[in-house]
Amino acid sequence: MMKGRRREAMGLALVAPSFLFLLVFFIVPAVLLFVCSFWMAQAFKLIPAFTFDNYSRALSASGFYLLTWNALKNGLCTAVLTVGLSFPAAYFIVYRTRGNLLFYLILVSWFSSYLVRIYAWRVILGSNGLINTTLMQLGLISQPLEVLLFSPFATILTLTHIMLPFALLLLVSALRDVKKEYVEAARDLGASNTEVLTRVILPMCYKGLVGAFMFTFVISAGDFVTPQLLGGRDGMTTGILIANQFRTAGNWPFGAAMAFLLLAAFLIVYLGFVRLLDLLRLAPGRRFHD
């Protein structure tokens, strides 16, 4: 009796700090923001109300759709690129090497700050940057390519660079759970290397795959710093728009409403991705017989 209670207390003590943190810094602000999205703003003042005006205003503006499409495009391209690049690397690290050297080398790129990396790409992609000067010296182009910098391309490239170590970390730990024995068992039963990948490895590291994809997607699609610094005029995203409502326009309710619309869009992407994996028969826990 006593023992059970003490165990309960112990469990509570273990989860309490993180729960409290989430409550104070995420749940409460999110609820407040949600409530706020139904309010009105007049001359930088918030007026409590219950109106759907903010939502309808966003949904009736074609610009909102365009910018949301840009955000989702940034997120999807970054997630596909990041997972596509880090999965083979994780596979190589887990199954082909004994040491962790490569793994650590990639993780080291984490040690530079987010902004430093954004500016580094500005230097590389700019008109006087590494790529343009090289191409010009090779005589392949006569004018610097302006589209390199200040374009969605620059945003996606930079975001991929930023997200790669995170995705790699998630995928390496997911693949480590798929012991070599499973791979060998599948090979023994007649599976080619590709069949081992699709029938054993991917379903077995499903959680890591979904985790890495969604994590990369949400952070890149919602990011407003990288698109602002590198995206140029065509690279505007909902994130920037939302940030502007809070920082300059002072229309919190409108900003909040757009944030929740963006969240809904993320949710749809998540459901779509999960459904896609299921259709591709990559989800675990499925029966293939009746």
């Binding site: 379903p203 077995m204 017989h289």
Partner: protein
Amino acid sequence: MSTPNIVELYGVTKAFGALTVLHDIDLTIQQGEILTLLGPSGCGKTTLMRIIAGFEATTHGRVTIQGADVSYLPPDKRPVNMVFQRYALFPHLDVFDNVAFGLRLKKWPKERIREAVQHMLHLVQLGEYGNRWIHELSGGQAQRVALARALVNSPSVLLLDEPLAALDLKIRHHMLAELKRIHQETGTTFIYVTHDQDEATILSDRIVLMNKGRIEQIGTPEEMYAHPRSLFCARFLGETNILTGAVRAAETDTTYVDVGPGTVKVPANGAAVAIGQNVSLAIRPEALQVSRLAPGGAGGDGVNALDGVVEDVVFMGSRVVYSIRTSVETIKYQETRSVDGIMLAKGEPVRASWRPDAAVLLTH
């Protein structure tokens, strides 16, 4: 062109870097037999099995299966299947889909797959378990699923790497009987790896005893037990008494060895021995005859006899094992307990003797 040898190994050598773990192994495995690779930990049993399955390449030597050289074939192209020590059942699939895994890759039609899988699940007595998830199985059940998953592909050879090591003793004995039954019903050739001599003797048609990457001896369990060719083999299979001494005389079919104060007469083993050479004799505990000595009576050891004192008595169910301290060695004597049998007591002076052909001469 059918050969009774289903697997043939010629001069198989395997090195990992500077470490050679298999030395020039020649071995043939016959159609339908249960062949056991037996040996202490690290002697290369798993490596040899993985070479047959195709997971390791040989450094030198060739492997043929059904007469065809498979040395360069990957595992998925070889007509063998393996049961892994930790089963390696796919946790994301249920029992049915685990067993169906190989057949689906072969693109069998759905109906045939269902029949084959159901048949196999019945064979391993898990007919009702098709819908179970892997984490819902006991160790013994998981073992059976692993067996079914391999056997459903009708392999020419089934490779089993210590399949019972993870099970407790009682289930292990039951599973051994099951394996024998399944072997009989399917007629599949089994290559079975173990370091447990009991498993090997219960199950095998032939045993391959390995030591440090070499084959020490091949034979039926009876041959191996009765005629060990080396000290290692005599010690590895069953309890045995080892006596050492110098050769006194060697005749064509009898060798005389000085052991302590007496002389031992033993059948020659065909190997040339020199007078004065140090040799060993192996005598099984149950091959001894032991009789009481009157206190202070008839001293001195005779031919094929050692006098001593009972030091310890251990009951092992139907058997009694005595330790007898003699002037040269403490030897073990084992007898079947009988209702009217005499019981020797600790401290009693006894004489242990044996027929000349009960001892085996070992020169290495």
